[in-house]
Amino acid sequence: MQEMVKTKNNQGKNSGMEREFVYTFSSGNQHFVLKVPLKFPVQENVSHLLGRLMLLHNLPCFIENDLKESLSRLIEEKSIEDYDTEAEVALEAVKSGEVDLNQLANTWAKTYTEAVLEHTRPEDSSWDEDFADVYHDLIHSPASETLLNLEHNYFVSISELISERDVELKKLRERQGAEMDKVMQELGKTLSDHDVNMLAAQHFESQQVLENKWNNELKQTTGIQKQEYQEWVIKLHEDLKNPNITIGEEINVQPNQWRESIEGNGGLFEDQRQLEESFTIHLGAQLKTMHNLRLLRADMLDFCKHKRNHRSGVKLHRLQTALSLYSTSLCGLVLLVDNRISSYSGIKRDFATVSQECTDFHFPGIQEQLEVVQQVVLYARVQHSSKSKRLNDVGNKNGSCEDKSKNMEQNLSNILPGEFYITRHSNLSEIHVTFHLCVDDNVRSGNITARDPAIMGLRNILKVCCTHDITTISIPLLLVHDMSEEMTISWCLKRAELVFKCVKGFMMEMASWDGGISRTVQFLVPQSISEEMFFQLSNMLPQIFRVSSTLTLTSKH
């Protein structure tokens, strides 16, 4: 009797080879031969295989043990044989020079130096990180008070400088305005258009000169402040390490300096216009994770500005932001920008202005950071195009990709919708990280989908939030910063629904990336939106997200 049986062919591994397992046994006078083709390397468990053989061929139980033994012996022997052949093929390749010995050894060495600490040259400790450690220690010590006072003093001197600048600029503009008025009156009489233009150009120039002068001064001052501050922090840290020395030069803030800041400019009025509602939600089908959502009617930059009108709030906010700066719970903000990396216009300019109101003692200023971004973007373009070229060579991609890369070549330094760059700040009131997400005019139209680059950008932003412990993120819900006429009620509702749903999807996805850490997501709508609209949106949110049930407290009898 002969039987043949096909074992399951394992997922078509090409490297495997088939061998035949032959087993003979006799029962009474009859002799049986069992032939089983086996695919090597054998993936499955021997006892499973045995069980199948016994069942399929109706084999008698008395041969079970013997069969198992010979089966596993065969598998073991042949596997070793396979290992040996493969190993010797490789050794032969090296011996014959088919594989370059030198290159081989270097590849190994490279992997070791890149991945194993032991083989890596010790890194010279970077100043940034040392400072980070020192600062983190200090801000969590009693010295934090002193630190904040110092920061505040610097802040005050910068604001003085800025207000001085503003006054001077204002004066200049007034003077120029008066001059212009005069000239305009004379226009057509004694003076020609040309003269007016000349004057205008002259005015512009002198404005520029003045602005530059002030900007230089500001830059210089911040530079000095930063250096002083950092030196001082290091020194304070060293002093504190030495228990004998108490903090010698206690930095005190004149009480009137804190109070001075009460006289804000119209801050009170702005605050009243801010609307907000908070929700606690649960995400997930079986295992649920809890998150906080907040819907706010506010300006994006409200999170960045230091509010002058809060009496004690200034300090608390600062402390809160400072405490978490080097921690694992950062706060982020999504800013929608156009395709140029600069700070000349619109929200970019406003943001830059706000971030210059106070010296950043930890990170480079916004301008410097943007310069770095520009370089990185250029580098990324080069990397990416060479990669896509390689891809194009390998598999002929369709034209769309080429179109894209052609567009890119037109201006490599510009970024595309859906891409974003990141800046870091220590000087904003509630924000550590800003995501500058590039969007185009498409977001103003009513028909964007979940596949829109802006939405994909949001997803990537949330992913970065996951990998870099950004636990609070503020997103412009409507994907615009200002309202315009074409944004009707239905437009708003549709857009809000899309963003809510997409963010919900991304948050559920995030749970699988980071194991469901609780987060806060703030959705911001522009201030120009009506109260009614706001409440419509806040009614929509709990329909899309599952709001957690209210806690019912019952007393035990």
Partner: protein, 891 residues
């Protein structure tokens, strides 16, 4: 697992390589993170137990693909021997070689290759024996494919390993060539050589030079001499014994085909003297093994010797797994330990942010983070905190007596504390170190005595089940016995069957938030267990939901598929009898009807509302019962729910269902149909402890026969069952299991059942509940204690003449015809006011005509009377018992 003894616990960490951006697998689902793949593959290592191998204990995933592995650890390694810079004696070298080979052989038998053999990974225990560490790294990382770092140390890599190159992630091809067992033999050769000369080889060379040198050894005649010359130690080599030299030559054979395997080498005559010093190792038999568990038990001639070597460190006698579990409970934090030893040095996240991110998620401007490099130093986990925590635990706690009746045993102080702890909420008990220690020790002993101590396991499980022992305890509660492994092995789990496609679709959607179940290893196990069940139950079919049902068993018995399968096979007939029939509509329909009767029985108001808006159980409860709630709850809640469910009978799930509804009661009552559908499509958080507590309470209020189902499992041959059953309480025994008598419930047609709002109860139950003492010509199936019996009120709805002719004592008479007004209100009379004053008691409607009784009950439910039921068969059932009494004529 072995007891801890002198060993310590060690932890080391590494990163799995990150996945490329947004790549999907062939099934369109996101790729499994490498760390999860590793976590899945790791599990099997926990079962590899050998005195020459460091026992693996646990793996945990941290942030950003970090993995921390916990294993047995010893402070000293061969590295320390080499540091002395003295040649090691030939005898010692052979001993070390023999022991290493023993370890290697055992690993190879389980299909594992070390690949990272080096002096630092050969540890020395207190008695100077060796233990191999990190032997599973190559296996768990899929031969190094899932990590960025190479596995192995340059000096010890075998030539063929170097020649085969590194599997690079980026150019990941299918033709990966894993190293075979012989590459470890080469590494061992180098290590032994180093021991012989007392110092390390290739110290002055850099990595590339080392590797080139090793590969060039192929052109050399006598590797040994060349190496010795190279290191200027020919003199020392000359003094090495001939045996060891032979061994070295065999190990350091350049071509693998000529190099022996560890197995061959062990049987080599060079070890003939040494091998007799080592007894053969028997793996201790597990609970469900077919062999005799005490087969290898050797008692000393003189029993008193056992007492002599008594030491007071009882904790060291517990298994490593238990000690680690307790260590965690006592506040052990792996990451913190590693941070303290500066193995984990993470930078503040704000310093590592990328600068620019493309639309496809590729990021730029991120500096290479040094903290992601491999530092494979093993950190010893200090047990001080745990020992401190347990210092007051008396020795008796480690060796509890397993008498059935423990009331005679004088209570020590600690046991008083324990009983105090037993009243704390379950969540707190599960985090309490001392309490868990006691429970684990107790369950460990009881389970070792399974099935003999089955009853006591039941008894203790009613208190709680320690999470560490849950898998085996559940198996014991389900009555799993016999050679489960052989049974499982005999099932064909490979041949394709039509159900495969469905299984393949369902598995990647089943409890995938869990790391274990979402790993490829988990999926493969799922597939095998589910297929095994489908194949071995030809009369039943795979219904979606079976996967969820399998999940808790697989999770608890991840390394023991056979047990998971056996548990599932025992569970389904008990709780889901015939639910998996191809046409299961009659079973489900009956089940759901009984369920809606239970809702009406326990919560008439809710029942009225749900019926009014048409929100019937068919719309929401099928996944609840078909999966026994595993589809709706996360695993940790299922565990607590099932801890109780397994103790209950097959009607307990009804009570759980009602308890869930009651938690959502307010929202259900205030909502209409659409909102209710939405609410249940994504079930809100349920407080599971409360749910369990309330379902037990509901269960106690439910007469046993109220949940009678004709399609439930009918009693098996009760010959062996009865002996154990009699000891269990009524809570766990099934109504169906009780011997049938005339007074039991008769089956009725499904349509009739559907038409009745309230459940029927049997005469038997009625008699039992009323404690009617009469000529007891039958035995009540189980004794209930007085306190647990619900209070009862019998309402006789026959006309008063019939009533006066004979009725059940204690019953009140409200004739059906004159009970209700046209509006459905009760007509006031002494009897109805009595009924009103007893609202809340179980009300049993007794009548002649079933229809009347049913409609009477329906009326009562309408006006929100809870716990209304009907006597099955009416008064006629009671008549033959002679329990009817005739009131003395009123004067």
């Amino acid at each position: 697992m072995f007891p801890l003894k002198d060993a310590e616990l060690g932890a080391f960490t590494f990163f799995a390589s990150a996945l490329p951006n947004d790549v999907c697998g062939s099934n369109g689902l996101p790729l499994t993170p490498n760390s999860i793949k590793i976590l899945g593959r790791f599990q099997i290592l926990k079962t590899i137990t050998h005195p020459r191998l460091c026992q693996y204990v646990d793996i945990s995933r941290g942030k950003h693909e970090r993995l921390v592995v916990v294993a047995e650890h010893c402070g000293r390694s061969l590295e320390d021997l080499l540091r002395d810079r003295k040649p090691v004696s030939s005898f010692k070298v052979s001993c070390i070689a023999f022991e290493v080979l023993q370890g290697l052989k055992y690993m190879n038998k389980h299909g594992i290759v070390h690949r990272a053999l080096a002096p630092r990974n050969i540890l020395l225990d207190q008695e100077g024996h060796i233990k191999l560490a990190k032997f599973g790294l190559y296996h768990m990382t899929a031969y190094g494919a899932d990590v960025d770092f190479p596995i192995g140390y340059p000096s010890y890599l075998a030539p063929e390993v170097i020649a085969q190159g590194i599997i690079k992630r980026s150019e990941h091809t299918q033709s990966e060539k894993p190293s075979g067992p012989k590459s470890d033999v080469w590494s061992l050769g180098i290590i032994l050589f180093e021991l012989c000369i007392g110092r390390k080889l290739f110290q002055s060379l850099d990595v590339a030079e080392k590797l080139e040198l090793i590969l060039n050894l192929g052109c050399v005649d006598d590797i040994l001499t060349v190496l010795a010359e190279e290191h200027g130690c020919l003199d020392i080599i000359k003094e090495v014994s001939e045996n060891v030299l032979t061994l070295l030559r065999k190990c350091l054979t350049f071509y693998p085909s000529k190099r022996p395997t560890p197995d061959k080498l062990l049987n080599d005559p060079i070890f003939s003297e040494i091998s007799s010093l080592y007894p053969t190792f028997h793996k201790p038999a597990s609970l469900f093994s077919p062999t005799l568990r005490c087969a290898n038990l050797t008692l000393p001639e003189d029993i008193s010797q056992l007492f002599e070597e008594e030491n007071s460190d009882y904790l060291a006698e517990r298994s490593i797994e238990e000690v680690y579990y307790l260590w965690c409970l006592a506040g052990g934090d792996l990451e913190k330990e590693l941070v303290n030893k500066e193995i984990i040095r993470s930078k503040p996240p704000i310093c590592t942010l990328p600068i620019f991110v493309l639309e496809d998620g590729e990021s730029f401007g991120q500096g290479r983070d040094r903290s992601f490099l491999l530092d494979d130093t093993t950190v010893t986990l200090s047990l001080c905190q745990l020992r401190n925590r347990l210092k007051d635990v008396a020795g008796e706690a480690f060796y509890p007596l397993l008498e059935d009746d423990q009331s005679n045993v004088p209570h020590s102080n600690s046991s008083n504390e324990l009983s105090a702890a037993a009243n704390l909420p379950l969540i707190i008990r599960e985090r309490d170190t001392e309490y868990q220690l006691n429970r684990i020790v107790l369950f460990d002993r009881l389970l070792k005595a399974y099935p003999y101590k089955k009853n006591q396991i039941w008894k203790e499980a009613r208190v709680d089940i320690p999470p560490l022992m849950r898998g085996l305890t559940w198996a014991a509660l389900l009555g799993v016995e016999g050679d489960i492994q052989a049974k499982y092995d005999a099932i064909d789990k490979d041949t394709p069957i039509p159900t495969d496609r469905q299984i393949e679709v369902d598995i990647p959607r089943c409890h995938q938030y869990d790391e274990l179940l979402s790993s490829p290893e988990g999926h493969a196990k799922f597939r095998r267990v589910l297929k095994a069940w489908v194949v071995s139950h030809p009369d039943l079919v795979y219904w979606q939901g079976l996967d969820s049902l399998c999940a808790p068993f697989l999770y608890l018995n991840f390394n023991n598929e056979a047990l998971a399968y056996a548990c599932m096979c025992a569970f389904i007939p008990k709780y889901l009898y015939n639910f998996f029939l191809k046409d299961n509509s009659h079973v489900i329909q009956e089940y759901l009807t009984v369920f809606s009767q239970m809702i009406a029985f326990h919560d008439p108001e809710l029942s009225n509302h749900l019926n009014e808006i048409g929100f019937i159980p068919d719309l929401y409860a099928i996944p609840w019962f078909l999966t026994m709630f595993t589809h709706v709850f996360p695993l940790h809640k299922i565990f607590h729910l099932w801890d109780t469910l397994l103790l209950g009978n097959s009607s307990f799930p009804f009570c759980i269902g009602v308890a869930i509804l009651q938690q959502l009661r307010d929202r259900l009552l205030s909502n209409g149909f659409n909102e209710c559908i939405l609410l249940f499509s994504d079930l809100p958080e349920i407080d599971i402890e409360r749910c369990v507590r309330e379902s037990i309470n509901l269960f106690c209020w439910t007469p046993k026969s109220a949940t009678y189902r004709q399609f439930a499992q009918h009693p098996k041959q009760t010959s062996e069952a009865t002996c154990t059953r009699s000891l269990m309480s009524c809570f766990s025994s099934d109504y169906q299991d009780a011997p049938r008598s005339d007074l039991s419930r008769d089956s009725i047609k499904l349509n009739d059942l559907k038409s009745e709002v309230s459940p029927r109860i049997s005469a038997e139950d009625l008699i039992d509940l009323c404690d009617l003492s009469g000529p007891s010509h039958f035995k009540t199936p189980t004794k209930k204690t007085k306190s647990s019996k619900p209070k009862l009120l019998i309402v006789d709805i026959r006309n008063s003449e019939d009533f006066n002719r004979g009725h059940i004592s204690g019953s009140i008479n409200i004739p059906f015809g004159s009970a209700f007004t046209a509006e459905g209100e009760l007509i006031q009379c002494p009897a109805t006011s009595m009924l009103q004053s007893f609202k809340g008691r179980v009300v049993v409607i007794v009548g002649h005509v079933a229809k009347n009784a049913a409609s009477f009950a329906a009326h009562l439910v309408k006006i929100k009377y809870p716990r209304v039921c009907i006597l099955d068969g009416g008064i006629n059932k009671i008549k033959p018992t002679g329990l009817l009494t005739v009131p003395s004529p009123q004067i």
